[in-house]
Symmetry: C2
Subunit: 256 residues, 2 copies
């Protein structure tokens, strides 16, 4: 509340040192271990949509204080990765069916443009990075579901990186995460997120600088993903315990 301002100029027009910051370490909030942890847990589907993210639980889990957790959750809430409800807490975001479709539509637009730019800008280091990733995906352990999910996401991120546009890259990252949530919410049990052959095909087309082909393959790939999800008929079915015990209860009643 004190507004006493010590006098400013005493001798000259002194030049007010540096009032504005520039060229500062652009380390974002995303580097926070709590944020990273929740993000990878979601992209690996170890955290399901609707899961409660209690502040105390997370604080003890990550070994930090509640305030730190609060900041991380607020950040994730701004990015629509978690849903924050006043006085009730934070939950892993569960997109609606319309929102899920919108996410795929947005990916179609952005990733088609990204793959086109990637073909245009492809250089030696880009080729090397792409080949390295394709090698990884070819040799990876298909039994490790978590590593699998991370790798398939990384391919799309890599294409966005090759496009050479930071803004587009950030949008792709966000869309990848929200796609994970959409798929986790509306997937049919047992189906993989990506068809296993799609990424090598797209990668080969990019390496061959076949722009039209790469665009077509990418669009087809995304449409294929989109066709794997189905709307949930009953919104209350999402309640795990109810869904699980509903038929069991019915069966036991029938048996008795």
């Amino acid at each position: 509340m004190k507004r006493s301002r010590p006098l400013k100029r005493k001798t000259k027009p002194v030049e007010p040192k540096r009032v504005e910051p520039d060229a500062v370490d652009p380390r974002s909030v995303d580097d926070d271990p709590v944020v990273q942890g929740i993000l990878t847990a979601i992209s690996q589907k170890r955290l399901k949509p609707g899961a409660k993210l209690g502040e105390d639980k997370l604080a003890s889990a990550f070994g930090t204080t509640r305030i730190h957790i609060r900041q991380a959750l607020a950040h994730l809430g701004s990015r629509k990765v978690v849903m924050q409800i006043p006085n009730r807490g934070a939950f892993v975001y569960r997109p609606s069916w319309e929102e899920a479709q919108d996410i795929f539509a947005a990916r179609r637009i952005i990733e088609v443009a990204a793959v086109a730019a990637a073909v245009d800008r492809l250089d030696k280091s880009g080729k090397a990075a792409l080949k390295a990733h394709m090698e990884l995906e070819a040799r990876h352990d298909r039994n490790d579901r978590w590593a699998s999910l991370s790798l398939t996401a990384e391919f799309h991120i890599l294409v966005a990186k090759l496009a050479g546009n930071r803004v587009l890259l950030d949008m792709s990252r966000e869309l990848m995460l929200r796609t994970s949530l959409a798929i986790a919410t509306f997937e049919q049990p047992g189906e993989p997120d990506c068809s296993p052959d799609a990424h090598p095909d797209i990668g080969a087309l990019i390496l061959a600088r076949d722009k039209a082909g790469a665009i077509h393959a990418m669009r087809h790939h995304i449409e294929e993903m989109e066709q794997r999800i189905r709307p949930k008929q009953d919104a209350d079915e999402v309640d795990e315990l109810t869904a699980i015990f509903k038929e069991i209860g019915a069966r036991s009643r029938a048996g008795a």
Copy 2:
């Protein structure tokens, strides 16, 4: 403040109350008056890139507590509208030259897709909304710089709304804000942000359902905006007072 929820089925199996939230009022953090205030101040260029956003100042300005301001700044920091530097505070985000170009490139991609979808989905209410906005832009007071800036931004938001994709709409909103920051950072003094005839042209083409024409006009419009900005040669020149008083000081010294 009471949110009594009328239960759905009350007779059948137990139904463990409600563990997971759904269909909750999706009122976002963006409705916060502090966030809205800073956002409109930025889009109207009353807050320039690099401006310090002190917590105490904002708290007394908005008549709230510092914690509330903190949350708002954290949210804006997550959206890259303000830049937060540890132990130094929050500043209005100032994009780099490369980032500014990336923003325009992203807008080219997204808004071209949005205008195409808008033509496809155009219906009666969409036509009415578009006509109403064009009327507003035609009759608005051109001397009111702040209203002008708000209106020109609203046109692009309206096109994104007509596209019928919430995800794309949110991205367009974010890109509009960041465009404001890019233009404010790199504009040549005295030039308007938008050429005055561009919006009526695009609107007419949408109303005529001329998809190819609308796409071309929108792309041209964005490229025209992009060509109005120029990189700043000296990074330190951004310090306003220094820049202003540098030549004055030199002249007075020469005169004396």
